[in-house]
Amino acid sequence: MSLRFRLALTMVLAAVPLLGALVWLQEELTRRDAEEGVRAFTLARLEGAGRERCESDPAHFGAPSRRWPPQGGRGGGPGERHRWRRPGRPLFLHAYDAQFRAAEPGAPPLAGSIRRALEAGAEVASAPVPGGLLVAVRMPWDEGPCAIVASLRSRPFRAEVLPGLLASALVLCAGFLAAVWLSAGPVVRRIRALTADVRRSLAARYSHPVRVSGSDEVAELALAFNEAAREVRAQLLAAQEREEALRSFLANTTHDLMLPLTVLQGHLSRLKRQAGAGAPEPGAIAAAAEEAEYVASLVHNLSAAAKLEAGEPMVQRHPFDLSALVERIVERHRPVAAARDIAIEHAVPEAPLWAEGDVTLVEQAVSNLVHNAVRHNRDGGHVAVVLDEAGGDAFLLRVSDDGPGVPPDQVTRLGERRFRTDEARGRHPEGLGLGLSIARSVAERHGFALGFAANEPSGLVAEMRGPRSPRPALT
């Protein structure tokens, strides 16, 4: 439905009750006019000698008048002949006593509404009867057969009035419609122009805004569209960036994985040769296992990095059992450590210790610390993972090793460097790249303190400290 049509329809719908009200008003005015006319005429007729004439022969009082409307109001003297008469419509007067009884046998009965109105004190009352309007006038006296005088006013036939009424209604409606058609024109044109503009903007992927002219609602609509278009465009660009980042992430990941997988294939091929020649060398098995472990940790770390970069809501917050986490991590690294004769030990408090955060990320962070402690240890070395309560409301997680450690000038810097993907991606010769960056970043995200210190007499100690959380109720 077009805007114009809708407006026109609204106009017509609004005009119908309005016309009805007009018709009613006209009827009401006509009725009042008739009441007033009959009252003035009747009073004039019955003043002075009229009353005597009526009371002497009330049954035959109702002589037609000859002239309508009354001229000169009610100020007629005795004996004056009022010749009021509506052309072609003689006016009969019927006399009634105070109890509404008619003196004339053929007089129309007074309707209940007329009786009630007159009893309530009205001077004149009327009611529609077949053939017209019966108007009853109460005389200034309350007794005798002529206390009330009524007259039947014939009304113009509806058939006579209706065509005129319909015609004026039609003219009125047509006028409304024409007004709507004309006044809607500029608005419709502005909206059409805006629609065309919006289509153009859409075709250009919202790169240019629509024109805003004027200061009306159409201009506001254009402004609102421009706001929406800016938002959509920002989202589009962000999505494109994410897609680009994902593509380069996949490409880099593929590259990062190929290297350790190549090394792993080399180890396996050597193992095959050695197995063919007799017994495989334990060192080669350990190296292969370690390389597989490296691939797994790399994939986990890349996934953690993606999660950290995406931020909320990818990073979850739930209470988790730190003691169970320590046990999982130690069991995870035990096979590789065992292959190199590295003793990996752990201890947790008697009662499980809970913390809050993203368990996958925290597990990966701690796993990286353990991974480094194992990977950079000497064969036959030690790694210890210890979880303790620190005061009543904190935990302390310590990963220590007795490997060669890190030069003193680098130890303090381990905890300082900010997480940067570019820097972290490279496979650092000391292995202090991605894994430690993830650990730092995860600690920071969770509000845990992560520090590093040289171990005595050799090796590295990493300490993670953070708030405990209450154990959640079982659901």
Partner: protein, 226 residues
Amino acid sequence: MHTGCVKPRVVLVEDDERLGGQVVTSLQEAGYDPVWLRDGREATPASVKDASLVILDLMLPGAHGLDVLKRLREECDVPVLVLSARNETLDKVRALKLGADDYVTKPFWPEELLARVAARLRRPVLQRSGALQWGDLAVDLTARLVQVAGEPVDLTRVEFDILAALARRPGMAISRAGLVANVLDPEREGGERTLDVHVSRLRKKLGPCGRLIGTVWGVGYRLEAP
């Protein structure tokens, strides 16, 4: 390695042929009685009724494995170890909330999985009271009595508390810091050096059983296997 007359039944719910085969083999070699369900729909409370443990792959993608877990948990409380395919926190949190006991993230070493299984079947290990016979060493936690080869040993309060802390979780390492915090009187005696002195006295008093109290590098002490 499990040793016992009846092999504990472990139900594995895994749709991948290669991984399933590998896990079943390592379970058999470790002395378990594995039952392999290749379809999650077979994993009904009835099918796991004789099992000591269920290993359930969450089966990437979707919540299929979680549905299985929910159905199992409605009727039985057999321990469930979840294999989490995705490195996804919500999956793990949901699984734990639905009543899983533990999870292992892929990729995992067979030894790692077996260690988790053993840990699940071993529980509870914590001994709050009662008596522990550990080789020739007998510790009565309630009566606070210690005997070595039937002979009572007279220990100080601190020495007994150290031994009790180790005996409550035999075979597990207990951290120095934890022992200091729980056993030593913070008013009178200080740190880990004091603890080491107490332990060395305790070892002497236990005589031949003194060697059962092992030092764990970087951690603390442990009641070693006799």
